[in-house]
Amino acid sequence: MSRVDVGEAITQAHHEEWARVVASLTRQFGDLDIAEEAAADAFATAVERWPADGVPPNPGGWLTTTARRKALDRIRRENKREDKQKQAQMMYDDDPPGSLGAVDDERLRLIFTCCHPALASEARVALTLRLVGGLTVPEIARAFLVQEATMGQRITRAKAKIKVARIPYRVPSAADLPGRVSGVLAVLYLVFNEGYLATGPDTDPVRYDLTAEAIRLARLLRALMPEDGEVTGLLALMLLIEARRAARVSVNGELVTLGEQDRGAWDAALVAEGHQLVRERLATGQAPGRYQIHAAINAVHTSARDARDTDWSQVVALYDQLFRLDPSPIVALNRAVAIAELDGPDVALAIIDRLQDELADYHAYVAARADFLRRLGRSEESRAAYDRAIALAGNTAETAYLTRRRDQLG
């Protein structure tokens, strides 16, 4: 096997096995630190040994065994006495084996622990990317534009809280599951959005590493919880957004709106997969949650070969459904953008005027206002709104787009 092939095998094993190794070691040793370090040691050993010894027939098994040996070595090396070892095993896990039925996968325990509601949102994101996603601390620090030491501390503090406050290592009970799943989905969506609309003057407008990681984690979650409609909904939503990535930013780094995108540049395979998932959820006949409705809206958009063929009445109907579930000003704003296509910008402007108090400082609100005013020929008001939207927007591609629009005003 060539060096390149071995490298690919290691990357693939890292993607497929990292979470499994960390999860099973955490279960065995009751300690996230030991599990994390031993997993990292095992992969480092693979990098050393596989090029010479060849890739083992069962890479996952090899990695778990190696990690387990590393963990035992470490515990022995640190000369922990019996009672100390017991003390380290503080993670609480009282499930009798087999009590979880279909969803009994140790990786799920790991995911729910990393996304526990008692942890700060940024800590959940960092822990999930490190322990489930296998990203290194420097990678995560770079992704969120914070110092490595800060990110390291964030992760260390979160792990300490899990241990000392005894955040359990288990899948939540059926009664708590919907709320806890939505917490996990929020973490994945946050990672995706940070990649999709990266903020900061010095970052790329789209951070492919983060969107790809969020999709990978959503695929894992769907494999573990295939019956959960919202898990499938979020994956479908991410795929349908990701499918448009190449068309979304122009060669000169400017945001291209949905209506102006070259639809031939969309990733047809991702669109097809997203549509398939949306159809799968529709076929269940169950009432959809937020992510499923968002996915359905994106399915309508990606079904139109030309922007002019978009079924706007369907889009508005879906936003109506979403608004009944989540009557937030942001949903009202997005609904108004669709209304503008169906009933005209004057109707939409009247709707969003009522959102002024809540959304005055939200860049997407101000940008939508600028757009409606422009289409109504109210150039001066539009220019002022564009100025303000440019000041509020944090994404470089969006700023470039808004600036061009403003400068094109007559």
Partner: protein
């Protein structure tokens, strides 16, 4: 595993009689389910005295050791197998006493 559930207050008024009866009912539930360890209400910070007994003679100072907008007005110590159970009980306690509470593990 024991947790301290602190009751956070920001106005120097004691619990109303409605709140007291809710708290009593919650306490009885804690005792019946085996989660009860101890609980109590505290006087306002203005009733506090700070003591420094590290020198030859103890020094007594009137008032809380730090002035804050929010303070501890009472607490529960509960027995719970893990944080999930503690959070659930703390949520019920918060509802009963009609105040925010904070959960911290004992080491």
């Amino acid at each position: 595993m024991q947790y301290l559930v602190s009751v956070i207050d920001d106005a120097p008024s004691s619990a109303t009689s409605d709140e007291m009866s809710e708290i009593d009912a919650f306490n009885e539930g804690l005792q019946a389910s085996g989660h009860w360890v101890f609980a109590g209400g505290l006087g306002t910070p203005s009733t506090a005295t700070v003591i420094d007994g590290r020198g030859a003679e103890a020094i007594f100072t009137d008032g809380p050791f730090v002035e804050t907008k929010e303070w501890l007005s009472g607490f529960w110590i509960i027995e719970a197998p893990d944080l999930d159970v503690a959070l659930k009980l703390a949520a019920e306690g918060s509802k009963a006493c009609n105040r925010r509470v904070e959960v911290r593990p004992f080491l």
